[in-house]
């Protein structure tokens, strides 16, 4: 009898102990990452989170193209300076031919929003760090927030230029409670958000990190100004654009690199030159995606055959007299290789293991030409011609590519700036946005710019259909990728693709 009692007591006490320790026993935490409850505790962690945003522009999550790849593809594929190579996917060929469907993988914006979400995370949780870490000063915090605001604005700017209206999400997603199904915001609203963010960022950002690589690779006050100039120009706000450009020009921190054989290696091969304002810095650890796009035998893109002859022109009498930006810089003439990201110098090219040319978002020549374009539209035609002249002199441009518009001939000036930007900023992901910006101005008054460009590149079989599509301004923006439409009933496909 006594034994049975002992059993009972034992069994129940053990059950009781087990039950009370259940909760703890089942409480396990991951060991190969930091959970959010333990993160956002120090300024070092805050900095790491900001660096993570830059990193996200360089890598692709999943098998989708990384933002760095899309910067090029979105900016050039619909332009007139490249043609698809043997390795181009059907999707890419279809974009060139003007046959873009919502299923086209080129239109996948996923990794842009990934960067945006990481920036949002910094903006949402970053300010809280200050209350935990007393060594974090308000200035430091602001600088970090400025970086996140600017990168977010940059991503949205790419999205509105490519898609028109896009969903605007400025809150981070960190829990399944916060998943949303947004509708599109109008291009105007998104641009207003960008302008507001940049205003804030301008006040927050540092003028210099005290380190040349950081100054070029991270967001400074002048990065913000350059982006502002671009955004205002897109919004046809010429005064603000010129003002933003002038902030950079008057800062005295930037200048044009001398136009000789050292120009290409300094600006593109080495990078971080005095001309550079904001460059995405690939390195030994993280190679850029461009080598595979241009270098291999089954390359995806080659230079359009007309670029050498019609854009840069050739001096038939003296082959050594050439525009320094053309042959052996932007492209190789023999096999139409796009050379800007492959070259170490005119004759010495990279191998895959050192393919870490930077992606240049903005450089000084770009800012000057943005100002030139704004001036042309703001009745300051002489300044436009002066700037173009500066750029051309530095570049030893050939007389064949010179134009002589009157200072009051807005259309003529526009064409000249556009052509000069094509030469100066060839294959830097600017061409399509330049064409579209100028074409859409004054309610699509210059659609001829786009049809001229299409004729240069679309194969004869597809030309008529491509030209017809261009007549509808809605076709100038990408369709929203089918995946997004399927996952969000509130998203409405862009008009042309319904």
């Amino acid at each position: 009898m006594f034994k049975k009692k002992i059993y009972k007591v034992l069994v129940f006490s053990i059950l009781a102990i087990s039950a009370s320790s259940c909760g703890k026993y089942l409480e396990l935490r991951p060991q190969d990452g930091i959970i959010r409850e333990k993160f956002w505790q120090s300024k070092e962690q805050l900095q790491s989170a900001v660096i993570g945003c830059y990193n996200a522009m360089m890598v692709s999550a999943g098998s989708r193209p990384s933002p760095a790849e899309s910067f090029f593809v979105w900016g050039e594929l619909r332009g007139d300076m490249i043609e698809p190579g043997l390795g181009a996917s059907i999707d890419e060929v279809n974009v060139v031919n003007g046959n873009i469907l919502p299923t086209n993988g080129v239109t996948d914006w996923r990794n842009f929003y990934r960067v945006i979400n990481l920036c949002n995370t910094v903006l949402d949780f970053g300010p809280g760090v200050k209350s935990v870490d007393n060594t974090l000063s308000q200035e430091q915090l602001n600088a970090f927030l400025g970086e996140a605001l600017t990168l977010r604005a940059l991503m949205y700017f790419y999205l509105v230029r490519s898609f028109g209206d896009v969903p605007l999400k400025i809150k981070s997603t960190s829990s399944d409670e916060e998943l949303v199904q947004l509708a599109k915001s109008s291009q105007k609203d998104v641009l207003n958000q960008i302008v507001a963010d940049l205003k804030l960022a301008e006040g927050y950002s540092v003028a210099s990190f005290g380190n040349n690589a950081y100054d070029k690779g991270r967001v400074t006050k002048f990065t913000v100004n350059a982006l502002q100039a671009d955004v205002y120009l897109w919004m046809d706000n010429y005064t603000e654009c010129i003002a933003a450009c002038d902030k950079i020009i008057n800062s005295g921190r930037y200048g044009l690199v001398t136009g000789n054989s050292g120009w290409f290696p300094a600006v593109f091969a080495t990078g971080n030159s005095s001309e550079g304002i904001f460059e995405l810095q690939f390195d030994q650890q993280i190679l850029n995606p461009y080598f595979a796009m241009f270098a291999t035998t089954r390359r995806r893109y080659a230079a359009n055959t007309i670029v050498a002859d019609e854009f840069y022109t050739v001096d038939l009498l003296d082959e050594n007299n050439k525009d320094i930006r053309g042959l052996d810089a932007a492209l190789k003439v023999g096999d139409q290789t796009i050379y800007k990201y492959l070259g170490l110098s005119a004759n010495n090219s990279r191998t895959q293991d050192v393919s870490y040319a930077h992606w240049i978002f903005y450089r000084y020549a770009d800012v000057l030409l943005m100002k030139a374009e704004a001036c042309a539209n703001a009745n300051r035609g002489q300044e436009t011609l002066d700037i173009i002249s500066t750029i051309r002199t530095r570049a030893r441009a050939l007389p064949g590519s010179a134009l002589t518009p009157a200072t009051t001939d807005v259309n003529g000036l526009t064409d000249y700036v556009l052509a000069e930007r094509a030469r100066e900023l060839a294959y830097e992901g600017k061409r399509w946005y330049d064409l579209l910006r100028n074409a859409k101005r004054n309610n699509f008054a210059r659609l001829d710019i786009l049809s001229t460009a299409a004729v240069r590149v679309v194969p004869a079989a597809n030309q008529q259909s491509a030209l017809n599509k261009l007549k509808d301004p809605n076709s100038l923006y990408f369709p929203i990728f089918q995946y997004e439409i399927q996952t969000d009933p509130n998203l409405i496909q862009n008009p042309f693709y319904k």
Binding site: P30, I35, V50, G52, N99, N117, T121, Q281
Partner: protein, 1099 residues
């Protein structure tokens, strides 16, 4: 560590406390003497064991008799008994009382060397510890004994049970050695990836998943057979728990059904040694006939020319130049290589198994060692496996009993190299690449003088493409790949299992405790050599060495109390309380290095470059769970039986708010035949019962820590600064997935067990489906998320017949048949769930639409009507067949996807049915084409026994219905790129007027291979699965050969498949998840023809 030990400690302590209750009665020792002689010849019995036993038959002390049969023993208590035993004699049990001298005789027992277990009724066990008579079973459970499957050349038991059990659908993923099977019990009840059932070995769950971080990088979605590394010959029986009431006792992990495996144990008697040998030759069935090099090189220029009318420039594309002045290209690209044949061979399998079992009153043993060696039909594939097992029972007394099971398995599986980037798609499978490789290219390289060199011909790239890690158009030299690449997995697994049984109240209350340690280590080494890809050394695909290593350490405990009060005539009851814990910890390490100096440096410890992502990873994960179960079965009047269970589960996979789940079940059986009014049928009706059940079981996500938002470091620095990023969405709403199962059935046994019929219908409803990879709009910052959404139903029936139509002394004819059907349908889904997938404006793609209440796996596409034979045929017609004219009288041409694509069909293009007669082929012309799920699956087969010693057994299995997309036919008749094509393209359209079913060849243009019914085929088949003839030598003959039992057999497997399917094999596992799931056949290695010669002998 302390936390791990707590539950083990508690459960062990409980039993130890019971077990170590010893009657400590110090007493004077009493000397007892005696002599033992044989009862017949009166000679002394030498070495007999004389033992003092207490009332529980626990041994107190013991001695052995000497050479004269004398013994002397000091006993502690005269109330104990004296037991005298030796093998070959009957054991004698004597009271001591006042006797001090025991001269006694032992009776010879030569006829009962092995224990004869007479069990009146077959018993079943749901693995939890509750043992129930099979005839009282209230749930749907089937059991297969080892005898049923031992002739098959099965490496793993899943192969052995394939097609033999109703409602259990087992599909081989591939015929390659070491490839696993997908086991589905009553359909897929979860979208959570893992559809394989819970496997319970000797009463304790057996881990069959690999750590989440381990990257197998297999060529296709084959699971790993090592996961179930039990030799089929060690298995005593396999039971499958199908309905939810049966599986509910396993709660959280049982929603995919439960497989119960019990291994053999020793029995009392002299040692029995068994040896079995199986030798098998395997052969690859013929594939799709492909173009020869000559046919190919006339086909390609035509395909190119058809696009723009410009010829293929053979100055730049020298592969087709055939210029005998350029000896390098001429020789390397003018061959007729059969790549598939070049990587195939005849495979073989040998299987040896040696076991010994036996034992005495106190201790019993079963030990086995097995070796299985296989070479696959694709060069470079193979399997070597060594199994050992030791099962020891020690019976301390009637009250206490220990059992130890120790199993160790070492295996080395060789696979073909697979790229981790496209793991699971099956498209870079070596066989697939071999089928598509240019047949005019050479295997070995010719040099510029036209001389054959021993080097593999692996150009860095050619017109067909190059090797890339993200495979837009990956190709490589398949022969070089199978010979010099490596991908092998070495696995060592040791599972010590300790079991203690203690009768607290004999025959009424029993306690048992199990502790199982499972140490499972695997290492996969992969190497991608330069010789196979030919890529330049600057790229990081060159000489790429991977190592992936996982170490899993699991501890499971189970403590049971079984209560069986003495039953009366009317009532009987069995009850169970079970406490279980489980802790699985795993570390995975991967290493990667690229550009090692040589093809021979295949280990990542060799110096090289590492500018690749994820060069080193080392994720660690740990999952814990604990559960309590109460289960009882009550029987009234042998006619009314009810079984009730309640299980509570806690799991570390959930956040603290949703951590615990409760899973009840109830089931009952009414034995109608036992009712008085049925008495009149009792002559021929043995049993007629109706059973019904309801039960719940749960499902957990596969990955741990999902309810945390984790920040992880970026794999690279930026500007020398390290970064971190938010890696996932914190799942605040993560909860258990619940399966609610309803089941009803009839058992009918007639004519003295000659006819046994079992019929069941069921509906399994899974609620709060754990849906991983649920697409979320990417502006949320993530691609996908796991949510509990939707309800999925699986419903169907199962019917099986076991019959013995004829039985006489010399001839027994048996016939078994089973058939089942399962339909699954989504009842509701979340708004996040994409309602369609697939893109009908792209070649080769089918549309999947989600329609509530329709079966999953349906796909849609165009109707293929043949080929436009000439310009007249491409004119659009209206519903009456009249040509459509434009307002100015010009005939309107058929177009594709106007206005977005606006392709005008040309003569020779594929003709699709214009369902709505608008002259435009677009999404409005897409129709339902089929569903991958089979209608019925099952098997049947006779067994004939002649003269008691020759047994011929045949087995057929079948599937009816179910449409398969013949993926290989798509890629071998697409005529779209430089891939080799099937000989079907020889009848392609070439000139106007040609009437054929194969459109013209168009290099990367046109819409000739849109997803249409052209590639959809019926998957119905009837397979002659196996035939075995076994001859058992007569006892007298066997004894003359110094054996106890001797038998030989021959088996042939997969001899014939009757099907209209034109691909390699109609047995195709569904790929994809959720609504995207389709049965697409990419021709992985199909089930092989096998011929086995076997021998089994016991001594």
């Amino acid at each position: 560590m302390r936390k791990i030990l707590y539950p083990i400690f508690y459960s062990v302590v409980v039993l130890c406390v019971f077990a170590l209750q010893v009657n400590a009665q110090p007493a004077e020792k009493i000397l007892i003497k005696g002599r033992i002689i044989d009862s017949k010849d009166k000679l002394p019995v030498i070495g007999a064991t004389v033992v003092e036993q207490d009332a529980d038959k626990r041994t107190i002390t013991g001695v052995a008799t000497d050479i004269d049969g004398n013994f002397a023993i000091k006993v502690s208590d005269v109330s104990h008994k004296l037991s005298i035993s030796i093998i070959g004699y009957k054991t004698k049990l004597l009271d001591i009382g006042t006797r001090r001298v025991f001269n006694t005789t032992l009776e010879s027992n030569s006829n009962s060397l092995s224990e004869v277990t007479v069990t009146a009724r077959q018993q079943t066990n749901n693995g939890s510890g509750l043992v129930i008579d099979k005839r009282d079973q209230t749930t749907s459970t089937v059991t297969l004994n080892a005898k049923d499957v031992e002739e098959l050349q099965a490496t793993t038991i899943d192969q052995a049970i394939q097609g033999r059990l109703p409602g259990v659908d087992i599909v081989s993923n591939s015929g390659d050695p070491g490839a696993g099977m997908s086991i589905k019990i009553r359909g897929t009840s979860s979208l959570n990836g893992a559809t394989n059932p819970l496997i319970v070995v000797d009463g304790v769950p057996f881990e069959t998943t690999v750590p989440a971080g381990f990257n197998f990088g297999t060529a296709d979605n084959t699971q790993y057979a090592d996961l179930l590394s039990i030799a089929p010959s060690d298995i005593r029986d396999i039971s499958i728990l199908k309905d939810a009431a049966a599986t509910a006792v396993w709660g959280s992990r049982a929603s995919n059904g439960v497989l119960i495996i019990n291994t053999k144990r020793g029995a009392r008697g002299a040692p029995t040694i068994s040896y079995t040998f199986k030798g098998t030759l395997t052969q690859q069935p013929g594939g799709i006939p492909l173009l020869s090099g000559d046919q190919y090189s006339t086909f390609i220029p035509e395909m190119f020319m058809n696009v723009n009318g410009t010829p293929l420039n053979t100055l730049t594309v020298k592969e087709f130049a055939y210029d005998d002045r350029d000896l390098y290209y001429y020789n390397n690209y003018s061959q007729n290589t059969d790549w598939v044949k070049a990587i195939s061979r005849t495979g073989n399998v040998t299987d040896n198994n040696l076991s010994i079992s036996g034992g005495g009153d106190k201790a019993r043993y079963f030990a086995s060692v097995g070796y299985n060696g296989q070479t696959g039909t694709t060069i470079g594939t193979g399997l070597n496996r060594l199994n050992t097992r030791l099962n020891l029972d020690y019976i301390v007394s009637d009250k206490i009993r220990f059992t130890t099971f120790v199993a160790y398995t070492h295996s080395n599986t060789e696979y073909n190299f697979g790229n981790d980037k496209i793991n699971g798609s099956g498209r870079d499978n070596v066989r697939n690449i071999a089928a598509l490789r240019m047949p005019n290219s050479s295997i070995y390289e010719y040099n510029e003088f036209g001389l054959l060199t021993p080097n593999y011909f692996s150009p860095a790239s050619n017109v067909q493409g190059q090797y890339t890690l993200t495979p837009a158009s990956t190709t490589f030299n398949p022969v070089a790949m199978v010979n010099s690449a490596q991908n092998n997995l070495v696995n060592d697994r040791i599972v010590p299992h300790f079991y203690l049984q203690y009768s607290i109240v004999p025959n009424v209350l029993n306690a048992t405790s199990d502790v199982v340690f499972d140490i499972n280590n695997g290492k996969q080494s992969r190497f991608l050599p330069l010789t196979a890809t030919g890529r330049p050394f600057t790229e990081n695909t060159v000489n790429r060495a991977y190592d992936s290593d996982y170490d899993t350490y699991a501890v499971s405990t189970k403590t049971n109390f079984v209560f069986t009060p003495r039953s009366s005539e009317k009532h009987s009851f069995t009850g169970l309380l079970s406490l279980q814990t489980n802790d699985v910890k795993s570390v995975t390490q991967t290493q990667l290095i690229t550009n090692t100096a040589s093809d021979l440096l295949q280990d990542p410890s060799s110096p090289g470059r590492t500018n690749a992502n994820d060069a080193i990873t080392s994720p660690l994960s740990q999952v814990r769970s604990m559960a309590a179960l109460i289960n009882g079965q009550y029987k009234y009047l042998d006619r009314y039986i009810i079984n009730v269970a309640l299980r509570g589960d806690g799991s570390s996979l959930f956040g603290s708010n949703k951590r615990y789940g409760l899973f009840p079940s109830v089931s009952g059986r009414w034995r109608v035949s036992g009712e008085p009014f049925m008495k009149k049928f009792s002559k021929w009706l043995d049993d007629f019962s109706i059973r019904g059940s309801y039960g719940e079981s749960g499902g957990t996500p596969r990955d741990p820590y999902l309810f945390y938002n984790t920040y992880v470091p970026t794999s690279t620095n930026y500007l020398g600064l390290s970064g971190l990023y938010s890696n996932n969405i914190q799942l605040d709403n993560l909860k258990w997935e619940t399966l609610q199962g309803l089941d009803a059935g009839i058992n009918l046994i007639m004519f003295n067990n000659r006819l046994n019929i079992d019929f069941g219908v069921y509906r399994n409803r899974t609620k709060d489906l754990l849906t991983p990879n649920l697409a979320v709009s990417s502006f949320n910052g993530y691609n996908s998320v796991l949510l509990n959404v939707g309800t999925l139903d699986n419903q169907g029936f199962e019917f099986s017949v076991f019959s013995t139509p004829y039985k006489s002394k010399n001839l027994i004819v048996e016939f078994n048949f089973n058939i089942s059907n399962n339909i699954n349908a989504l009842r509701s889904v979340s708004p996040y769930y994409p309602t369609q997938s697939g893109n009908v404006t792209q070649n080769g793609e089918y549309l999947s639409l989600l329609q509530i209440n329709n079966p999953l796996g349906s796909f849609y596409g165009y109707k293929f009507k043949g080929v436009y034979k000439d310009g007249n045929a491409t004119v659009a017609t209206d519903a009456n067949g009249n040509k459509i004219l434009s307002p100015d009288g010009v005939p309107v041409q058929m177009r594709f996807n106007y206005p977005a694509t606006d392709y005008v069909f040309q003569p020779g293009d594929s003709m699709y049915e214009d369902i709505n007669h608008d002259g435009n082929i677009n999404y409005q012309d897409v129709v339902y084409l089929g569903n991958g799920s089979p209608k019925f699956t099952g098997g049947f087969g006779p067994a004939i026994t002649l003269m008691g010693n020759l047994k011929v057994q045949a087995y057929f299995n079948f599937r009816t219905g179910g449409q398969i997309i013949n993926g290989t036919r798509i890629s071998t008749t697409s005529q779209y790129d430089f891939n080799n094509q099937s000989t079907a393209v020889l009848r392609r359209w070439r000139t106007p007027g040609d009437e054929t079913d194969v459109p013209r060849a168009l290099y990367r243009a046109g819409y000739n291979w849109l997803g249409s019914d052209r590639y959809v085929e019926d998957g119905t088949f009837l397979r002659f699965r196996s035939i075995t003839a076994r001859y058992t030598f007569a006892k007298s003959l066997a004894r003359r050969l110094k054996t106890k039992n001797l038998s030989m057999y021959v088996t042939a497997e997969n001899l014939l498949t009757f099907t209209r399917y034109t691909g390699q094999d109609p047995e195709v596992a569904t790929t994809g998840e959720g609504i995207g799931q389709k049965a697409i056949d990419y021709s992985t290695t199909p089930p092989l023809k096998q011929f086995t010669l076997g021998l089994s002998a016991s001594f």
